[in-house]
Amino acid sequence: MLDLPFVLTWARMRWIWIDKFVEFESGRHAVAVKNVTLAEEHLHDHFPGFPIMPECLMIEAMAQTAGILVGEARGFREKVVLAKIGKAVFFDFVRPGDSLRIDAQIATISPEAASTSGKITRGDQLIAEIDLMFSHIDRNLAGKKFPDENFVFTGTFTSLLRDIALNHPRPAGQEMESG
C-alpha cells in the first residue's frame, strides 16, 4: 500500500503523459488511464486531417505506468530508467477522444533491474502489447556516478496516484476499483 505523506515528498515538475492511476497493486500490477485529446498539438501534424496518436507516445505511456510501478516496488529509492523495449506491437490507430487503459505487470524484478509486460486497451479492444525493461541505474552502467538526488521520481507524477493514495487506507478486504 502507498504511504501518502511519503509519496507527496516529491514536489518537482516532470513531463507527465498519463492522466491517473486507477489500479495499483504494489510490486505486481498497475493500471493507468490516458485520455487523448485534439488539444494535443502534435496531433495537428500527425497527421494533417488524420490525427492519430504516435506509437512512440503509447510506449511512453506504458513506460510511465510501468516505471512508476517498478519505482514504487522499491519505495522510490532507485533511479528507474527505461532501458529496453523488448516488444511493441500495435493493432489499431488511436484517435482524439479515445480513452486508453494502460495495464502494466511486473514480470521480474531484481536489485539491478525489472522487466514488465503490458497491454493497452480501448474498451474491449486491444490496441498494443508492450514489454519493457527498466534499469536501476545506480546498480549498473560500469561504475558511472549519478547525482545522489533521485532525478527520476521528482515531480507531480505523484498526483497521478491521487485516487489510489487518497483512498488509503481502505477498509480491510475491500479491493481497489477500476475506472
Binding site: 521480474t108 533491474a113 534499469s135 546498480r139 560500469a142 561504475g143
Partner: protein, 129 residues
Amino acid sequence: MDRDEIFQKVQAVLVDALGVDDDEVTSDATLMGDLGAESIDFLDIVFRLEKSFGIKVPREELFPAESLLNNAELVSNGKLTAQGLAELRQRVPHTDLSGFEKNPDISKLADLFTVNAIVTYIDGRLNAA
C-alpha cells in the same frame, strides 16, 4: 534434459531477448560481438533463462566477468583496474587473458560471453548431482 534440448531452449531465449534469427545463435557465437547484446540484455537473458528453465540464475554465476563491469572499484574509464584484473583472473581461471591484460578495455571482454558458455552453465545447474 540433454545438452541439445538445453541449447534449443537457450537459442529461443536469445532469439526473444536479442531479436536475432535462430540460425545466428550458433554455439560459438559471442553475445556482444556476434549477437549485438548490450549490458541491459544480460539481465534480460538472465530473467528469461530463469523463466524458461524454472531455476534461479545469479547473474554473477552465469556471466562471472560481466558482473565486474558494474563495480566502480574494478572499472575506471572503460578499463579494468588492477584490482579488476585480479578479480577477473580469479573468476575465469581457465581463460587465457594474456592478450586482454595488455589493454584491459572492457569492450574486449565481449569474447568471453558465448552461447556455449550459457549452455554449459545451465547444463551444470540441471545435470550436476
